[in-house]
């Protein structure tokens, strides 16, 4: 899976984050906001990549976990909770929810996790909209303060990048640990992994729960970034959007989520002249990419690099999947 040395992948990701940090000094506030959004979505996409890319399970609940993280942060920060504590709580809460819903869904084979998480996201949206005593209903919660000293747009971007860096290093470490090797074995060939004594169901559940936790962390950054939460950003559309980020970047590739989130954040800006037709074009591009290059943009780039290095056309890759 990991093309080149794994250390190079970590270095590439960290260099990218650093470049984004430096770039923010020449950008206007809106550009800084977009970069923050990129960092925040990347965290959730990294989580989803563990579930989809490594364990091969479709989760449509990532929007719910982002929402849970966002509401937890928005509700607890005014009560004097420090940001670090709400972040940890959001992650822990979503990890628990992931175990709770993943356990029954993963007992059965097939696409049951996709359906359970689809139902969960739709239900969670109804709860966020209807239980106004807790969530403020459609009015939402406004004036969410950013944690001191990260109050300005650029300073908050630095906080987002710091969290993203920590998540990057942690994920890299996780994938290199014995646990992570089991994840990779799972992705390459679940049947062989099982025959080698990997507890497939346990690791699939774990990957879903860790993915959920990262969704919570994403939400916990999202609330103070936008400074306003209401139900609609956490509807099914966000789950689909995050899923497409993972696929566009390259599911099961370490760098995929960074690239996919970048495309998802920047493309609407570039295609602004298309206005309403933007989503039509985006969906078409995704379908085309899935058909032509199932290992995403990172896979495409890797193949092009290979071809250049060898000086002759590379053999068609099978996406690294058995």
């Amino acid at each position: 899976m990991m093309r080149g040395r794994p250390g190079a992948l970590l270095a590439t990701a960290l260099a990218g984050i650093l470049a984004v940090g430096l770039l923010s000094f020449v950008l206007e506030p809106y550009g800084v906001y977009l970069l923050s959004l990129w960092a925040v979505y990347t965290v959730a996409a990294i989580g989803l990549n563990l579930t989809l890319g490594y364990a091969g399970q479709i989760s449509l609940a990532q929007a719910t976990f982002v929402g849970v993280g966002a509401y937890a942060t928005a509700l607890l920060m005014p009560h004097g909770w420090p940001f670090g504590a709400t972040l940890a709580l959001a992650g822990g809460l979503c990890f628990g929810l992931g175990l709770l819903f993943g356990f029954p869904a993963l007992r059965v084979q097939g696409h049951y996790l996709a359906f359970v998480t689809l139902a969960l996201t739709t239900l969670a949206f109804l709860v966020m909209r209807n239980e106004a005593w807790l969530t403020g209903g459609v009015q939402g919660i406004a004036h969410i303060a950013r944690p001191v000293p990260f109050t300005s747009g650029r300073a908050f971007l630095m906080l987002c990048l710091l969290v993203l860096t920590l998540v990057t290093v942690a994920t890299w470490w996780l994938l290199r640990s014995p646990w992570g090797r089991a994840f990779i074995a799972l992705r390459e060939n679940p049947i062989r992994a099982a025959s080698l004594g990997v507890d497939v169901r346990g690791y699939t559940l774990l990957s879903f729960a860790i993915g959920a936790a990262l969704g919570g962390v994403c939400g916990s950054l999202y609330a103070p970034l936008v400074q306003y939460v209401e139900p609609s950003p956490f509807a099914l559309a966000l789950s689909l959007s995050l899923l497409l980020m993972v696929v566009v970047g390259g599911s099961g590739s370490f760098l995929g989520p960074y690239v996919g989130a970048l495309v998802a954040v920047l493309l609407p800006e570039w295609l602004r002249f298309m206005q309403d037709y933007y989503l039509v074009v985006y969906a078409m591009v995704v379908m085309l990419l899935l058909a032509v290059c199932p290992d995403g943009l990172v896979g495409l780039a890797g193949r092009m690099l290979d071809r250049q290095r060898r000086g002759h056309p590379a053999e068609p890759a099978d996406g690294g999947k058995a």
């Binding site: 989809l52 091969g56 479709i58 819903f101 029954p104 869904a105 007992r107 059965v108 084979q109 097939g110 696409h111 049951y112 996709a114 359906f115 359970v116 689809l118 139902a119 969960l120 739709t122 239900l123 109804l126 909209r129 209807n130 099914l236 689909l240 899923l243 497409l244 696929v247 309403d276 037709y277 989503l279 039509v280 985006y282 969906a283 078409m284 995704v286 379908m287 899935l290 058909a291 199932p294 996406g319 999947k321």
Partner: protein, 290 residues
Amino acid sequence: MFWLLAQLLVAGLAIGAIYALIAIGFSLLWQGAQTVNFAQGDFVSLPAFAILGFTALGLPLWLAIPAALAVAVLVLGLLFKRVLVQPMLHHGVLQLAIATMALSIFLENVLKDTGGAEAYPFPGLTGGFNLGALFLDWQSLTVLAVTVVTVSALNAFLSRTRTGRAMQATAQNPSVARLLGIDVERMIMLTFVINAVLVTLAAVLISPVYLVKFDNGGQIGLTAFSAAIVGGFNQVRGAVVGGLLLGVVETFAATYGPDQYRTAVPMVLLILFVLFRPHGLLGRREERRV
């Protein structure tokens, strides 16, 4: 009290019958062609918009419906199979499922950009007659009659005709079916065509009730997935039982439960069934390996 319950039961069965038609198509695609179609709800919206489009062009309804059926068979049957499913399937079931999600976004936005974001009224039957204190409306009776005829015809086709049995064999084991000389590709194509016919029927039946709106597909699709899982995947009657049950439960919940959670019913049932009875009411325990 009795008459009220009977009234609700009729209404629930009528809406459930439509869910059943959509769920049958969904199950057939999953079982027969390894295609988990997350765009199934939007597959219902497309013919509905097509019918409105044809009538806006001046076609009478009795011509607009077959014209929309032709469009559905072409686009949701042949094109869907050839352009999306065929190239995707050798990348894996998972990739194909994700591609249908992208297709769902695509269809909803095409419908919104070409048809508009309003909810359009759709011609249906009005009136009815009294049976005791029970009011039976023509719309519900027609829905039930059409569903009974469709499901019986489909069942007869699948179990009595040579082609139908070949289709079932293909669904159960494509490699063996191929060895037995069955034209597997044709059978799979037939599955897609049948699904296109079912969603068009469902569009005609459901649109007078739900109106025609570009994003109706999400809720309709979810209800159909739930119906298929609640009923049990392996067979047509599973989807029928699941659909009817969901329609009835939903109607009763809407009358006696909190209104803002009306749409939650199929979701709650889906989660409960996956928790406690993942093979559904009628499904067999062993899962098809896909």
